[in-house]
Each structure stands twice: as structure tokens, then as C-alpha cells.
Symmetry: C2
Subunit: 454 residues, 2 copies
């Protein structure tokens, strides 16, 4: 992984003093998750616009997690500010939100969390729909203002969603697991699958190993982001099936072995790949709970100079293979278990486009379109499918970039640094939980609120 | 209006030679619309993936406009490349699109137009849905590659839309009127209102004065973008009602008089503003065809330092006033005429968020949410409502920016320059046409494909 010399410099004793005196911005060191770590490193302020349907549940969640809940900032900097704005319907409600947020964000500490809960827009009431959307503009602007590694995100909560359905998402966005997820808007609806027994959802979840008992298959697992996903899901308790091409055999075995998982050498673009994968999962593991479509390639070239080989190779690996495996998961029986979670790695290039990447961007946009189309079909089976769009992540690939390109990529986001493979992996872990059934058909960026977008 | 010295330098004789030798990028001079100008300055290549439901209509449109249609690039650079990909459903179709586009974009000339026509995603077919979305990634990447003022855009056409419904949009995106509209995805559906008589739609339209006979009201009309909208709509044949606050009276009168329109001094945030505006339109003009909600203010401040006055002032002007006037237009009778067109000026800040602009971004995001919610209600009356989100536009406001901020704002888009007020105004003109009834509930950016987004 390439070293971010500038970040290290601004955080060293002498270097920090020099760069500060020169007026150069400090790159914050982000709080990242470690097993056993408390949810928050300090107190949380919880407020509401109007009644606040989720306020009590949020306070209970925080208290259960050992966090102190306060109504106003005190001596200690706030680790989190949570505003339940699900009841916001009028422009006056927006003003009420601002009145709560202004003094609170002033006291937000390092790696702090600004988390808004907003309503799904009521399309029958223009003011309410406008206000729901206005919260996006507010949160995305606030994300560009908060400092020292703090993030700002918005959960849009369906009115029918019970508080327990929002729990895993609130927990993720408040925790250090979401270190590099910033400026995002994620919809949380009624969980897929049969109605959940509230008693069951209130039952203690293993917070240290939230994926205990779950089988996870990860493609492109031999290195980079794929290997980090393997390590992170295993740390959270999942049993791993690590998949990569035969040429990556040795690295693949290393990754699989260190997590106690199994390795499967498979070219996912081969005709029989879906059948071989599903047979393996059925026969060796009795099924699968989490499928992470991570394998992807780039073959950059300007469109004017593109050739069919580059185009077809990228579309085959990044999109066609996912389509065929997903189809097999939907039509095959006895493989995808209840509370199945499909997670597809897309890219911010698929959202914003990128010079030299018409093929890659087309494939990754395609993944987002596929996820949206398949979400209702997986929901019928109690499963979800979501996309994750990483921005600039520090990998072997970015290490090979020219220095200028790499430096620009690192700095043009609200956190002023590249993300780490583990940041993508933690997001996979959240979406992979059985408790995350309220999130379906979404594309979540892991990009530190990159300025790049559409 | 501030001068773009750098653009002028790179386009001057000596300065251009020096900057070119220094390896500095040239900032293209964009072809802009002038009455009587041919639609295209050179030949157009028209291709199709599969059958191409819109190919014949596109060729006819081009021929009628005096353009030469070719099947392959020849001696002369192409002024436009149009690909009808509405039939694209498979990954093989995407490869066919690439095979057509690669040799074509190589020959695209200055201020060229790459225009793709794509299908609405078929959500029952995951591959087709993926392919529909993939076209977005392709177009947005291509927009970042094409040079010399060329643009790339995608019209997503509903399968039920007859070719004539797409006509005004194809024409706009090919013409010099869309000089600064780049990297956009616009949906075109069945036109709102009673079924259109195809014979009537094929009847000759006044191409030089497409808004002839239409009454247009423009708020914030005294200067900047508002004044440009007035001038442009009047040039296209509309009768103008120019609205601004009483304090802008003199400038307002000047703008109104030079177009032969009338001026209305009105504080749009006052309680009786909707009634007064509608009374004026009903009594003095017999109704209105085009309503342009352009009035807007900024009161920048970090959220941590925000005060209620700044917050409320921005929300009142930018959002609440629009909501109240739109409500009056919907509920009042005898004012909004058939083929009414409501056009709301939003901002890229409402999409991406902006530091120091939580209030402004909330208001402009709110406009986009309002537009989406009101679109079906206006459609019931044969009317449409759309938002335009300008990016960096050269105005008195941007002239007051610090040099560094202004230079950055100008260059971080695919056209490497700020837009002009007229670029926003031309987009208003397109949406204001009676023939643009297939575009409803959309947010169209006028930003030169700014890299800023969400």
C-alpha cells in the first residue's frame, strides 16, 4: 500500500509544526474500528425536529453501547450529533433543524459523526417533498464543513420502518467502521423477507462478531480490496470462501488460510462459473449468506482509441459475470440462504464517469443499474442486493499512478486523504449483516465525500 | 461580467502560441447560438444499435435543418455524432455501440455534439437495466474526453414516446444553444397533456421564434441570469413579464423595456405575492405560458456560525416563494394556460452541497425535490415543471470571488471555463417550448460537466 507521506508529515511533531506554520492543511488521522472498541469515543447529542419517532430508539442504542447521551454540548467535545428529522415536513421544521445543529456541530470532535435521519419524500405534499430533499443539501454541505475526520451522512427512513430496522445502519454510521463513508444518503425501508419478530430483533446481537455463523463468498479475493473484505468479514465472524482466478492461486490460498476459510480457483467469466460456484457452495458449505462481487479489472484507453478486446474484457469481468452469477443465485434453489446479502463493488467512476474509462465506467454504472433492477427480485427471497462505489482507495493500483494524479485523487475529498481497503470492507460487513435487510437496491459510496460526482 | 483572461490569452495569436508551447491547455471558444444560424456547422454521423427506432426521425430532423447526414467520417470533421441506442438491451449491444462510437468520436470537430439516445431501464430484465445505466457511465466518461468545446449527453427515451416528442430535445442538444450543457442525462417521456395530434406536431414550427405567442414571467429579472433569460426568451418570440423587488426598479424597467415587455415590482416573499402575480398575469396578459422561478439569494456562513436570519432569508426567497406561487398556479384557474412550462432555477450546490452554503444548498436541493413532487400534478394540467441547476456561471457574483476561487471554479469542468448567463437562458428556452412536453420533473445541470457532484 502506498504511503501517504503528506498525511504522516502533518501528523508528526516537527513536520506538523512546520506545515501548520506554513498554513498547510493537516490531514486528519481517522478513527478506525478495532474489535472491542466502544461505539463512540465520547458523548453523543441527540435531538429531534418535532416528535422524533426514532429518538427513543437512538438513545437506547447509544446507552446500550456505553455512550453518554447529552442534550447540549458540555466540557467534552461531542463524538456524535444525531438529529431525528424524520418528522420534518415544513420549512419551519428545517429552521428548527438548523437551530439544533448550529451549536452542536461547533462542538463536534475529531472523527465525529453528524448523522441525520430524514423522511422519505411525501410526493403528495410539495413542501414536505422539498424539505426531505433539502436535508440532502444540508448534509452534503455540512460534510464539506466539518473537520478533523468528522463525517456527515443522511439516513432516509421509510415511515413504515420500525426503529429496529434502522439499528444496524445507525450503528454503522456512528461507528469507526464508517470512517471513509461521508456525504452519503442511504435509504432504509421495511426489511425484506417475512415480517420480523420484534422480540427477535431486540434479542442481543453479537456485536463483536455480527457475522457469526454466516458463509461469505468473495470474488477477486487474492489481493487489494478483495483480501481486505475477506479479512474483515472473517474478523466479524463469517466463514470465508475466497475466489480468484487460477493465476492468483498462491496469494488466494494465503488469504483463505489466514482466515480459516477455503479457496476456490475460478475464472468467473467462464461459461460454467456460476454452476461451479453454486455447486461448491451447496456441496461444501450447505449454501451461502453473503456474496461479494468484488472482482474487477481496468483496461484504460480513450474512447477514440478503444478496441473491442479492452471493451469486452472489462464488461465481461465487471458486469456480465455478476449478472450471470446473480441469475444463478435467484433461480438456483438451496444455495442462497435466508437473509442473503449480495454486495456488488461498483465505483465512483460509474457515477461521475472518468476520462480514459468509458469501458470501466460503463461496467460500473451497469452494476448500479443491475442492483436497482434485481433488488425487488432478491427481496422476494428475503435477500438484498446493494452496490458499493469506492472512490480513491489506497491500493497497489493507485500506488502505480503518477505522483500528481495520486496526490490529486487523495486530496479532492472532504477527508483530504485516500481511503483504505478496510473502509470498503467495513461497508461490505454492514450490508452483509442479517440486520441490514432494510437497505436494498442502494449504491453507497465509500469515497470520503469525493468532490467527483454527477 | 468578469473577463476570462486565460481563455482569451490561449485564443490570441501570440498568447496562444506561447501557452501551447508551454503545454498549457487551450480553453475552447464555444459555438453559441445566433438567430438564423444553421443547426450544425458541419456533417452529422447518425448510427444505431439494432433497429434504432429514432434513426429515421433523427435523419429527417437533420436534413430538414440543412445538415448533411453521413454514415462515416470523411474529409470534413463531424459536427455531431448521434447514436440511437434505444434498442440496446445486452452487453453485446454495448460493444456494438463502442464499435460505432470509437471511429466517430475521433472525427468530432470543435463544439461537436456527441448525443446518445438510450432506453428507459427495463426493471424486469437485469441485463437490460444494467445496459441502460451503462450508457450513462459511457457518456459521462466520453464527456470528459472529447475536446475543443465538444459535449456529450444522453437522452433517455421512454419506449412509448413518439419520435416527435423527442424532437425539441434532440434539436436543443445538437444546437449551439446547449453550449454549456455537458455530461447530462435527461429523460424524455410521453408528452404531458391530451394526446398530441401527430399531424399537428409535424406541422412547421417557427424555428427562429419558437416561443412566439407565449407569455413568460421571469422572477429576479433585473440583472444577471434573470436578465439573460428575459433577453433570450424575448429573442425567441415570447412576451415578457419581468419581476423583481421594488429596490431593483430602475434596472428592472430597463430590462423589461428593451424586450418590449412589462415590469412588475414584487417582493415574491410577501404574503400576497402569489395573488398579486396571478392577478397581474390574468388581468394584463390573459394568462401565462412560461413561469421562470429565477429569483434567488445567498447568505453564506458555515453551519457552525449560521444564524436564523441568514437561514430563513435564503429559504424564504429560494424555496418558500416558489412553493407558494406554484401552489397558486395549480389551484388558480384561468392563469396557467395549456402547455404551461414551469422552470425553477436550482444549483449544482443543491446536488453536491457546498462549504458555507448549508442554507443555499438546502433551498436548492429543496427546489429539486419540489419539482419532482409537482411534476405529476402539473402534468394533469398539460403543464411541466423542471429544474435547471447552473454550475459556475460568469456573473457579478462570481466576479466578486477571490481570484483563486474563481479560477478553480472556472476550470474544474470538461469545457475548462465558466458558463455565461445566456447558457442558462437557452436551457430555459428549450424547456419553455410547447414542444418540450416530454421533459417533466427533471433537474438539468448547466455546468459544462463540472466535476462537482454527488
Amino acid at each position: 500500500m502506498p504511503t501517504d507521506w503528506y498525511r504522516n508529515l502533518t501528523n508528526s511533531g516537527v513536520g506538523g509544526a512546520i506545515t501548520a506554520r506554513a498554513g498547510l492543511p493537516r490531514v486528519p488521522v481517522l478513527r478506525r474500528y478495532e474489535p472491542g472498541q466502544p461505539l463512540l469515543a465520547g458523548p453523543a447529542l441527540v435531538g429531534a425536529v418535532g416528535k422524533g419517532a426514532l429518538v427513543d430508539a437512538t438513545r437506547a442504542l447509544l446507552t446500550e453501547s456505553g455512550a453518554t447521551v447529552v442534550d447540549a454540548a458540555g466540557e467534552e467535545k461531542l463524538a456524535a450529533v444525531v438529529l431525528d428529522a424524520t418528522g420534518a415536513r415544513t420549512i419551519a421544521d428545517l429552521a428548527a433543524a438548523q437551530a439544533i445543529l448550529t451549536p452542536a456541530v461547533r462542538e463536534l470532535g475529531p472523527s465525529g459523526r453528524l448523522l441525520l435521519l430524514g423522511p422519505e419524500p411525501d410526493e403528495t405534499d410539495a413542501e414536505a417533498a422539498a424539505v426531505a430533499q433539502a436535508l440532502e443539501g444540508l448534509v452534503r454541505s455540512a460534510g464539506k464543513e466539518v473537520r478533523a475526520g468528522a463525517t456527515a451522512n443522511l439516513l432516509v427512513v421509510a415511515s413504515e420502518a420500525v426503529p429496529a430496522a434502522v439499528d444496524s445502519s445507525v450503528r454503522f454510521f456512528l461507528s469507526a467502521r464508517s470512517a471513509y463513508v461521508d456525504g452519503q444518503v442511504v435509504h432504509v425501508g421495511v426489511p425484506v423477507g417475512p415480517p420480523v419478530d420484534p422480540a427477535g430483533m431486540d434479542a442481543p446481537v453479537d456485536r463483536v462478531r455480527p457475522l457469526a455463523g454466516r458463509i461469505a463468498v468473495v470474488t477477486g479475493a487474492a489481493r487489494g480490496i478483495g483480501a481486505a473484505i475477506v479479512d474483515t468479514l472473517a474478523r466479524d465472524g463469517a466463514s470465508i470462501v475466497a475466489v480468484d482466478i487460477p493465476a492468483a492461486g498462491e496469494a488466494l490460498a494465503t488469504v483463505a488460510n489466514r482466515t480459516g476459510g477455503t479457496a476456490l480457483q475460478l475464472d468467473i467469466t467462464s461459461d460454467d462459473a456460476p454452476r461451479r460456484l453454486l455447486d461448491h457452495l451447496r456441496e461444501r458449505h450447505g449454501g451461502v449468506d453473503i456474496v461479494v462481487h468484488n472482482a474487477g479489472i481496468t483496461r484504460d484507453k480513450l474512447l477514440a482509441n478503444m478496441d473491442a478486446d479492452r471493451w469486452n474484457a472489462v464488461l465481461a469481468v465487471n458486469l456480465a459475470a455478476q449478472l450471470r452469477i446473480n441469475d444463478a443465485l435467484l433461480t438456483g434453489t438451496g444455495v442462497l440462504r435466508d437473509t442473503g446479502r449480495i454486495i456488488c463493488v461498483a465505483s465512483t467512476s460509474g457515477i461521475a464517469g472518468n476520462r480514459g474509462q468509458t469501458n470501466y465506467a460503463a461496467s460500473k454504472a451497469g452494476v448500479i443499474g443491475m442492483v436497482r433492477a434485481l433488488a425487488p427480485r432478491f427481496a422476494e427471497r428475503g435477500a438484498t442486493i446493494n452496490a458499493i462505489a469506492p472512490g480513491f482507495i489506497e491500493t497497489e493500483m493507485t500506488a502505480k499512478m503518477p505522483l500528481g494524479t495520486r496526490e490529486a485523487g487523495r486530496r479532492i475529498n472532504s477527508l483530504r486523504q485516500g481511503g483504505l481497503p478496510v473502509d470498503v470492507a467495513e461497508t461490505v460487513g454492514w450490508l452483509g449483516q442479517a440486520e441490514s435487510g432494510g437497505v436494498n437496491g442502494q449504491a453507497v459510496r465509500v469515497c470520503g465525500q469525493s468532490i467527483l460526482g454527477a
